[in-house]
C-alpha cells in the first residue's frame, strides 16, 4: 500500500517564526489532506489539496502530485499553532486515509 512520510518529526519555534512541513507519498493520490491535532486530540481540517496551492490566513499548502509531495507553510507562528500536524493520503477506490507519522510542533512565547 501507499506509504506516507512526514518531516521533520519534531520542530520547536519561537513565536513569530515561519516553518515548512513536508509530506512525501510513495504513489499517486486522489486526495491529500492536512490536519492539526490540538492538545485535546481533536483533528482539525486545514487543507484538502490533492494538487495545486491553497492559502488560509497564515497557513498555506502546496501539493505537487507528479512529484509525490506536499508542503505546509506556517507563517508568523503563534503558541496556539502547537500540536501535531498530520498529512493523510487517499488513493484509488479504497476511501481510507493513510496517515503519516506526524510533525510535533511546539511554538514557544
Amino acid at each position: 500500500g501507499i506509504q506516507v512520510e512526514q518531516s521533520p518529526p519534531d520542530l520547536i519555534l519561537q513565536e513569530g517564526a515561519n516553518s515548512t512541513l513536508r509530506c512525501n507519498f510513495s504513489d499517486s493520490v486522489n486526495n491529500l489532506q492536512w490536519f492539526h491535532q490540538n492538545p485535546w486530540g481533536q483533528l482539525i481540517n486545514l487543507f484538502y489539496i490533492p494538487s495545486g496551492t491553497k492559502q488560509n490566513g497564515r497557513l498555506s499548502a502546496t501539493t505537487v502530485a507528479t512529484e509525490r509531495y506536499s508542503l505546509l507553510y506556517i507563517s508568523s507562528s503563534q503558541t496556539t499553532d502547537s500540536g501535531v500536524y498530520f498529512c493523510a493520503a487517499l488513493r484509488g477506490a479504497t476511501n481510507k486515509l493513510i496517515f503519516g507519522t506526524g510533525t510535533l510542533l511546539a511554538v514557544q512565547p
Binding site: N30, N31, Q33, F35, W40, G41, Q42, L43, N45, Y48, F86, A88, L90, T94, N95, K96, L97, I98, F99, G100, T101, G102
Partner: protein, 113 residues
C-alpha cells in the same frame, strides 16, 4: 453546523468485557469511517461505510471487532472480549460522499484494564 459527534468521550472497561462506541456523522454525509489512534502514532483505518453497507472492513484487526450503520446515519463500533491491546482513541469521520474531504469527531478514549 454540527460536526461529527462521538459518545462516550471516555470508556474504561475490564479485560474480557464488551463495549459499544457510537458515532453521529455530519447530517447528509453518506460516507462514514472508523479509525484507531494509538499513542504517538497517526490514525489507522478500520472500516468504511457507504450508506448502510460496509464497503471496506479490511482494517478491522480481528473478528472481535464489528461495526454497523443500520439506517445509513449513526454507526456503532462493537468490540467483544476486550483486550488491553485494544486501548486507544477510536475516531470516527464522515464525508459527503466517497472520496471527498473527511471530517473527524473528537474520539472515544478506550482504556481496557
Amino acid at each position: 453546523g454540527a460536526g461529527v459527534s462521538q459518545t462516550p468521550s471516555n470508556k474504561v472497561t475490564e479485560k474480557g468485557k464488551y463495549v459499544e462506541l457510537r458515532c453521529d456523522p455530519i447530517s447528509g454525509h453518506t460516507a462514514l469511517y472508523w479509525y484507531r489512534q494509538s499513542l504517538g502514532q497517526g490514525p489507522e483505518f478500520l472500516i468504511y461505510f457507504q450508506g448502510t453497507g460496509a464497503a471496506d472492513d479490511s482494517g478491522l484487526p480481528n473478528d472481535r471487532f464489528f461495526a454497523v450503520r443500520p439506517e445509513g446515519s449513526v454507526s456503532t463500533l462493537k468490540i467483544q472480549r476486550t483486550e488491553r491491546g485494544d486501548s486507544a482513541v477510536y475516531l470516527c469521520a464522515s464525508s459527503f460522499d466517497r472520496g471527498s474531504e473527511q471530517y473527524f469527531g473528537p474520539g472515544t478514549r478506550l482504556t481496557v484494564t
